[in-house]
């Protein structure tokens, strides 16, 4: 049996499941909002085991052959301190904070047990630090963009004298929601007006050399194999700084791409160093003909690479999970050609 941890609205999960069904492979899909009942988690000198209740079935660790961590978390210990108990509200808050830590620890342990199986993705190790990844990439001889992190506008001014800058999150993308409006942070170019607005000091922020892009690369990685896609975001002013400002009328050209072998070797070493057996790598190919590494996302939107490039990544993932040979050599059992 294969266990998939994901979210309810993830369409890529459905497409991978279609292939698991075609391969006649039993699976359990756990969405992060599905309540997981901790019936028993046990360990002794003979080993570890668990039995988790999910709706009307029980999942035992011993029955699991493969695990795919797509995204989300195991929704265990949903109970908080009973509302009726008459305690000091400050104390209730402290107790609930403690319970939350207990929950995270248990989630991490269950995630670890799942990842001891034949696993794609890792629910604990996926928490990678983007700045550390940049450090690892640089150490492996992969070009990175020059950056500075500072809380002083004087430093930003100085850096801006040298080259144009962009600013983006140190950790990554934020999404906020208030009054039914969604707010997100995009990568933005830095200019004098913006610096004036910030005042002389502010929250420590990341400033990065604005790369002169020829095109961008989104590279999906799956256990030793790279699936690169080039994104021509520079033809359109709307998408030239951040291609996530999608132009739906005239979407950026996206095409399959071939990476230089030398670069592939270095990226392979990087993925092993992090370590990740799957992820989406973002790079830029500059007007100076250089490949510049930006980041790796352990949880990637691989559908946006798979479909336009016809890479059949959903099938490749299902084959990985069922330990089948790569696609062209292994047809599903009822295929007709």
């Amino acid at each position: 049996m294969i266990v998939i941890l994901t979210t309810e609205d993830d369409h890529s999960t459905c497409e991978v499941i279609d292939w698991l069904i075609a391969y006649n492979k039993p699976y359990v899909r756990i969405n992060e909002n599905d309540l997981v009942d901790v019936q028993l988690v046990s360990g002794n000198n003979q080993g570890f085991d668990f039995a988790l209740g999910l709706a009307n079935r029980v999942i035992r660790l011993s029955e699991i052959e493969g695990f795919w961590f797509r995204r989300g978390w195991l929704n265990v210990g949903a109970l908080n301190l009973s509302q009726g108990i008459d305690l000091n509200p400050g104390l209730v808050r402290q107790i609930n904070r403690h319970l939350q830590k207990e929950r995270v620890e248990l989630q991490g342990f269950l995630g670890h047990l799942l990842a001891t199986k034949h696993a794609l993705g890792h629910p604990v190790k996926d928490q990678i630090n983007k700045m550390i990844t940049l450090w690892q990439a640089q150490a492996l001889g992969i070009k990175i963009p020059a950056f500075s992190i500072t809380q002083h506008s004087s430093q930003v001014q100085a850096a801006l004298q040298v080259q144009p800058l962009i600013t983006k999150g140190i950790e990554g993308v934020a999404n906020f929601e208030a009054n039914d409006e969604m707010y997100g942070n995009y990568t933005e170019e830095v200019n004098q007006n913006a610096i004036k607005c910030w005042g002389s000091s502010f929250f420590p922020s990341l400033f990065q050399e604005k790369l002169d892009k020829m095109y961008e690369l989104r590279i999906f990685y799956l256990q030793g194999k790279f699936y690169p896609m080039a994104i021509f975001s520079q033809n359109d002013p709307q998408t030239s700084v951040d291609f996530r400002r999608y132009n739906n009328e005239r979407p950026n050209r996206v095409v399959p791409y071939v990476l230089p072998v030398e670069l592939e070797h270095r990226l392979e070493k990087l993925m092993q160093a992090i370590p990740l057996n799957t992820g989406s790598i973002d790079m830029v190919y500059t007007q100076d003909n250089e490949y510049v590494f930006l980041e790796v996302n352990p949880i990637g939107q691989f559908g946006m690479v798979s479909h336009p490039c016809n890479y059949h990544l959903e099938q490749a993932i299902a084959q990985f999970l069922t330990k089948k040979l790569p696609h062209n050599e292994n047809q599903p059992n009822f295929t007709t050609n």
Partner: protein, 335 residues
């Protein structure tokens, strides 16, 4: 500094016809008509080393060549690069996890279908897209019994054809809100032609048609209206039939067929399972008839974006051109 090679974006694919050609943009879903000489250059000399190509052409053609490449660049069909080896062509392999991807279910006043059983079987086969065609008036109660069986299934889109009925029409318009799987609702035999809701305005289009569609013989129309320009259908059309591949149909009488318009029945739905039929080799035989094999279509520039029809063919030949197609690729004109 001008780069050396002109390269088509991999999603822009030239298709040569007898008198003229297309560049099909399978990403943005559009195409451009181009002369055959340009299609020749784009297929035989791709990536295009333009100065080398010019050297093979008389000087008076150079301006035209430049115009061609400017046209393609301006419309974002291609770009200039010094590294064409980094930009491979799209792999046009077709893969599907479903043994049946699409199905047709016909209904008239004598039909006695067990919808739950049919949908269960389609679900098992992995069917994604279902077309239900009702030639006779259906009351809302019957429709709820039918459509209520479709929630929580792998069938993700349903096109519903209904006969217009004055008494029920407002209830018909409510159906898309109740059944999220509906993507198209067409009412035939309507008082007038009218778009009630376009596919941009909601997840389901609602259209009234004056034409009476009272049986399966109305199918098989070939027209630019039915062109389908996307990568899955383009790649499928390279290898398989662009109408019948992985299709199964249950006609109004319950006969299991490739298509309700085709005479051959592979058994009755009450006696045979859809799976048993799908496993028969002769059922799958027409799946492999590509447009490259069909008479006339094989010379047509629209062959990979057009639908097909094997139900009504010229001279009723197996490889005959669809009878309801009025395009002549040898003149480049629609009749």
């Amino acid at each position: 500094m001008k780069k050396k090679f002109f390269v088509l974006y991999a999603c822009c694919i030239p298709v040569k016809g007898y008198t003229r050609s297309l560049v099909c943009d399978v990403q943005r879903g559009s195409f451009k008509l181009i002369p055959n000489e340009l299609a020749h250059v784009l297929t035989q000399h791709h990536p295009c080393d333009v100065s080398a190509i010019k050297a093979q052409h008389p000087v008076e053609d150079h301006e035209t060549l430049d115009e061609y490449f400017e046209f393609l660049t301006a419309h974002e069909y291609g770009f200039w690069t010094d590294h064409p080896e980094r930009f491979p062509a799209l792999d046009l392999t077709y893969q599907s996890a479903s043994s049946i991807t699409n199905a047709i279910l016909d209904v008239d006043q004598y039909s006695n279908h067990n919808y739950e059983s049919i949908f269960d079987q389609l679900e098992f086969l992995g069917c994604k897209d279902l077309q239900i065609r009702c030639y006779t008036e259906m009351n809302p109660e019957q429709l709820h019994q039918m459509l209520g069986q479709l929630n929580l299934r792998r069938i993700k889109s349903v096109e519903l054809l209904l006969k217009y009925a004055e008494a029920y029409v407002s209830q018909y318009y409510q159906l898309p809100q109740q059944y999220g799987r509906l993507v198209s609702l067409v009412l035939h035999t309507s008082p007038k032609n009218q778009v009630i809701q376009s596919s941009q305005e909601g997840h389901c289009q609602i259209i009234c048609l004056q034409q009476a569609i009272d049986d399966e013989t109305h199918c098989g129309q070939i027209s630019p209206l039915y062109f389908s320009l996307n990568l899955p259908t383009f790649s499928e059309a390279q290898h398989y039939n662009s109408c019948l591949h992985r299709k199964i149909s249950v006609d109004k009488a319950g006969n299991i067929k490739n298509c309700p318009s085709m005479p051959k029945s592979f058994g009755h739905i009450t006696e045979q399972s859809l799976l048993e039929v799908v496993q028969q080799e002769d059922f799958k035989q027409p799946w492999g008839i590509t447009k490259d094999e069909v008479e006339v279509c094989r010379d047509c520039e629209f062959r990979y974006i057009c639908t097909d029809c094997r139900g009504y063919t010229k001279g009723e030949r197996k490889y005959g051109k669809p009878a309801k197609c009025s395009y002549d690729p040898y003149t480049g004109e629609w009749a």
